[in-house]
Symmetry: C2
Subunit: 312 residues, 2 copies
C-alpha cells in the first residue's frame, strides 16, 4: 500500500511540486525554475532530480510512492501524448513515457486546467462530488470537466475548453483564439474589464469606475458597494457565464460548477449573477445544480496531478 | 465466454427486442406491446417472459448469455435508477434490480437516446470510434454522448440533452421544455418546418414549398432541387446546429458527430450545412472533427442496449 504521491504543475516560468499522503494531505511543496531552453529537454530531468532529492531528504522509498502526476500547459490526449506545449518549447511526445524513463515510477499526465478541476474535486471547492465542471476565470477562461471522479480529456485532449464556447453573435472584436464571441471575451479578468470600459464609454451614469484604469477587482468591489454601473457589468458577466454553464449542463450534467482563477476572489457575489442566468437557460432536468468557489488557488494543479496518479 | 446478449428498447407503445452475438451481429429481432396499464408494472415481466421464450425457442442457455441491456425513455442515473418515465407510467425505481429479479441474468439500463448513440458507435455510423456525439433529429432533438466507448450519463442521467442547448436570443416562441431558443426549435423535423413557414411568410421569393403543407422532407428535397428559399432555410438549420455542435465540441471534444432521426434521411447534404457553421465557431483544437450519418435507424436502441451490457 503506497503512502505517498507527488503532484507536479509545469508552468512556463516555474514548476510547482507537492508531496502528498495518498489520503490527500499536502506534506510539502516547493518550486523549481522551468528551463525552457534546449527545446524544453531539461524540464523532465529537472523534475525527476527534484523529486528524487526530496525522497532522499525525507527518507522515502520508491516502494512507498504511488507515482508522479504531472499537469502540463497543452492538450494531452488519452494516450498521454502532449501536442505542442509551445510555452515549454515542446513538440509532440509522450510526457508519460519520457518521465517514467528518467524517474522509474508510475507517471500520469494531464492538461493543467483539467488537472486543476480534479484537484478541486479531491480536496477543494468540489470535495465530495464526482461530476464537476471547473471554470478558471483568469487572464483567459480555462476549464476542466470531471466525470465520475475522472478527467474528461476528449479525443485529442481538447475537452473542457469552455472559454471558447460561442456566447455572443453580435461581437465584432476577435478573441485571442481567432474566433469571435467566445466566453473568454466576457468572463475572464480581461473580459470583465472590457465590459466595464464599454459600458463606461456608452453612457454617462456616474460610477466609481470613472477616471481610473479599471481592473476586474475594481468592478467587483464596486458591485459590492452598490455602484449601479458596475452592477450592470456584473449582470452582463452573469448573462454570458450563466448561459454558457446552462449549455455545458445540458451536455455533461454535473453536480457542481466551481469558479476559480483570479476573478473568483470576488467571492459568492459572482455566483448570484451566474445563477440568475443559469436557471432560465438550463433544461429542467439539469436545473438543480450546485455552484461553489475554488479553494485551492494556485495549488489546485499539484493536488489534481497527485490525484490523477492515484486514479490510474 | 458468453456467446449472446439481448438488447431491449422500451417505447411508449412497443418494446423492441434483439438477440445479438457478442461480436455484434443481430441474430433475431421482434416486438411486443408495451402494456402501460397498472402503473407500467407489467412491462418488465413481459420483457423477461419474451426473452426467456426466445431462449427456449433457440435452445440458448443462460450460461451463454452475457446479459440484457435495456434502453428506457427517461433519465437514468449512474446507479441505474430511472426517474419518472411518464410515458410508461413509471415513477422512480431501479429498473436494473427489478428486471434482474425476474430474469435472473445481468441487466444494464440506460436512457434510450444515450443508448442509441452507443449502438451507432458499436455497429453503426460511428463504428470504429470511441468518442461520439449522436444528435437524433426527429420530432424533437435528442442526443447521446459516448466517451471512451461508454455512455456519458451525467450526475442524474441528464447528460446529452443537446436539444435544449440555447442557440437563439431573439426567439419569442417557447420550446416544449418551457425554455426559449432551444436547438430543438430549429433542428428537429418540427423546427425545420417552422423555419420554412416563417421564411415563406416573411418574403415573396418563389418556392416549390408555397401552397403546400410543408414537411421536413419537402424542405430537403427542395434544397436538393436548388430551390433558393429552401436553401436559405437549410442555411439557418446549419447555423443553429453547427454552432451547437461547436459548443459541444469545446466541452467534450469528440472524434465524430453523427446525425440520426427522421431528418437525417435527407443524407449528406445536411452535413454540408452543419460543417459550414461548425468550423468558424469551433476552437481550433476541436476543429478537425468528423461528421457522419446514423445507419441503424430504429434498431440503434437494441444495438446500444446490447452493447451496454457487454460494457459492464
Amino acid at each position: 500500500m503506497s503512502k505517498y504521491c507527488f503532484g507536479v504543475d509545469v508552468g512556463g516560468t516555474t514548476v510547482k511540486l507537492g508531496l502528498f499522503s495518498t489520503e490527500g494531505t499536502l506534506l510539502d511543496k516547493w518550486e523549481i525554475k522551468t528551463r525552457t531552453e534546449e527545446g524544453g529537454t531539461l524540464i523532465l530531468p529537472d523534475i525527476a532530480d527534484s523529486i528524487l532529492a526530496k525522497m532522499n531528504e525525507k527518507g522515502i522509498d520508491k516502494a512507498d510512492v504511488a507515482g508522479v502526476g504531472v499537469g502540463v500547459p497543452g492538450p494531452v490526449d488519452k494516450d498521454g501524448i502532449i501536442h505542442n506545449a509551445v510555452n515549454l518549447g515542446w513538440g509532440t511526445f509522450s510526457v508519460k513515457e519520457a518521465l517514467q524513463k528518467v524517474i522509474d515510477m508510475p507517471v500520469a499526465v494531464g492538461n493543467d486546467a483539467n488537472v486543476a478541476a480534479l484537484g478541486e474535486m479531491w480536496q477543494g471547492g468540489a470535495r465530495g462530488y464526482q461530476d464537476v465542471v471547473l471554470a478558471t476565470l483568469g487572464t483567459g477562461v480555462g476549464g476542466g470537466i470531471i466525470v465520475q471522479g475522472k478527467i474528461l480529456n476528449g479525443s485529442i485532449g481538447a475537452a473542457g475548453e469552455i472559454g471558447h464556447i460561442h456566447v455572443e453573435d453580435n461581437e465584432t472584436d476577435s478573441c485571442g483564439c481567432g474566433n469571435v464571441g467566445c466566453l473568454e471575451q466576457y468572463a475572464s479578468a480581461t473580459g470583465v474589464v472590457r465590459l466595464a470600459n464599454k459600458k463606461l464609454a456608452s453612457c454617462d451614469t456616474p460610477s466609481v469606475l470613472r477616471g481610473i484604469e479599471v481592473t476586474a477587482k475594481d468592478v467587483w468591489d464596486a458591485v459590492k458597494a452598490g455602484d449601479a454601473l458596475a452592477i450592470e457589468v456584473a449582470d452582463q458577466f452573469g448573462w454570458y457565464l450563466g448561459r454558457a454553464f446552462a449549455n455545458i449542463g445540458n451536455v455533461v450534467n454535473p453536480e457542481i460548477f466551481v469558479l476559480g482563477g483570479g476573478v473568483s476572489k470576488a467571492g459568492n457575489i459572482l455566483i448570484e449573477y451566474v445563477k440568475k442566468y443559469y436557471k432560465p437557460y438550463a433544461f429542467h432536468a439539469s436545473r438543480e445544480v450546485l455552484f461553489g468557489l475554488a479553494t485551492l488557488g494556485n495549488d489546485a494543479g499539484i493536488y489534481g496531478s497527485a490525484k490523477m496518479v492515484l486514479n490510474d
